[in-house]
């Protein structure tokens, strides 16, 4: 089991590294990347430079390029759908994994990862990554919170609830 965990750890790090690299590489379409195909549905995106000289943008005296704070002039990455495939070397050979993202105001709104692994172990570890990278939520007791309202379906149609009760009663008899 110890070896398995180590391999799992390494593979996860590798896969995460590939995904991060793919995300960073996506918007810079002018760079030549050997690692895969890029399909972006919006036009070329470069980091915008400010057209007015604002005193709030700090300038590095050693570097003529101004440092642009995130959010000062809008999203860094153009809204839209992006996808890329990243390849990596595994003990079983070259493997690849595909990532698609929808970006809005620099936030990932949806993401999909498709594993293209051919080797058995790589398939397993890609699977582990795909299953686990999402944001998961849990519930918190309403009685512990200070809410004005709850939005949900607990107030299901009254007749519906009564019907379900009747059906359940019939099913028991």
């Amino acid at each position: 089991m110890k070896n398995n965990n180590l391999l799992k750890g390494i593979s996860t790090v590798m896969i995460v590294g590939i995904v991060i690299a793919a995300v960073i590489l996506i918007p810079k379409k002018t760079e030549n990347t050997d690692t895969g195909n890029e399909v972006a549905t919006t036009s070329t995106n470069t980091i915008p430079t400010p057209t007015n000289s604002s005193s709030t943008i700090p300038k590095n005296p050693d570097n003529p390029e101004p440092i642009i704070p995130v959010g000062a002039i809008g999203p860094i990455y153009k809204d839209g759908s992006y996808s890329a495939t990243g390849s990596y070397q595994s003990p079983e050979g070259t493997e690849s994994i595909g990532v698609s993202l929808v970006l809005k105001n620099d936030v990932v709104i949806t993401s999909t990862v498709v594993g293209n692994a051919t080797g058995g172990i790589s398939q397993r570890y890609q699977g582990i990554f795909i299953d686990n990278y999402k944001q998961y939520v849990i519930g918190k007791e309403i009685s512990t919170l200070s809410l004005n309202k709850v939005s949900g379906s607990s107030l299901t149609p009254i007749g519906f609830n009564n019907a379900v009760r009747t059906i359940r009663a019939k099913a028991k008899s």
Partner: protein, 312 residues
Amino acid sequence: MNKNSFQFTWNAIGTTWVIDIFDSNFIRVRSEEEIILLIEKIKNRVELFEQTYSRFRENSWLSQLKPKISEILESAAYTIPSDGKILFDLYQTLYTLTNGKMTPLMGQVLVDAGYDEKYSLIQKKELISPPELKNIAEFQDKETIIIKGIAKFDFGAIGKGYLIDIVCEILREEEISSFCVDAGGDMHYQGENEFKIGLENPIDTSKVIGIVSLKNKSIAGSAGNRRVWDISSQKINHIINPLLLTSDTNILAIWVIAETTTIADAMTTALYFTSAEILENHFEFEYLILKKDMSVEGSLLKNQALELYKLV
């Protein structure tokens, strides 16, 4: 809420309505008769809407939309009531955007699946996909609908949201400035404060998966797990894909925040059938989708007003 708020509640359109009025002078400037009249005005307006558009009422205007049936089928023209034009318009747009998956012609499928006026929840017969909208109805200058074929109309996906907006208008006309109109968990809040709304965990309704604060906006939610029943060998809920004749069991709940409850309500159904990107080209809204595995996605995630309880 605070001590000065006024609340009244009643049942209509198959759910419980709760109206909260937060104006501190609401009671002071009105006589008891005036308050009673206002409550009656609202209840009557809701009842009128139900009489006109309820699929569950045989004599509603909507239920009576039929072609002339004699030896052959002949088209029949009907004047659309003034409050129906927006609904037909919206359904036509969403029908196109979802490639026919969100259709106003779901009535027969729902009845056959058991979601009838008696809530028998027993499948009556094999489900048949509804006909294409263009084969059933033609619209003339937004005033008239021409019915060419037989199909049951159902406004369930948008009707409640629209009715909530109508009630909000009545309150505004009364010069009430701060209120919440809530019909079964879909609601609009107007006022000065941040209104905290818990997002109910569909799996355990004693819990919420997060809280969203809103002000002068509507929120609508749709969950697939409450109105669930069995037909054939599958679980079905009240949101049925008319082409596949199945329900999506991967989505646990969808919440939408928008300026109006009409749009919020419409989007909670539309998002089952098409992508948010397509809808965002036509409507302004924020959404959150909760999947069966308890993962979340959606544009509401970038809103600071949302606080989610996350598994770390």
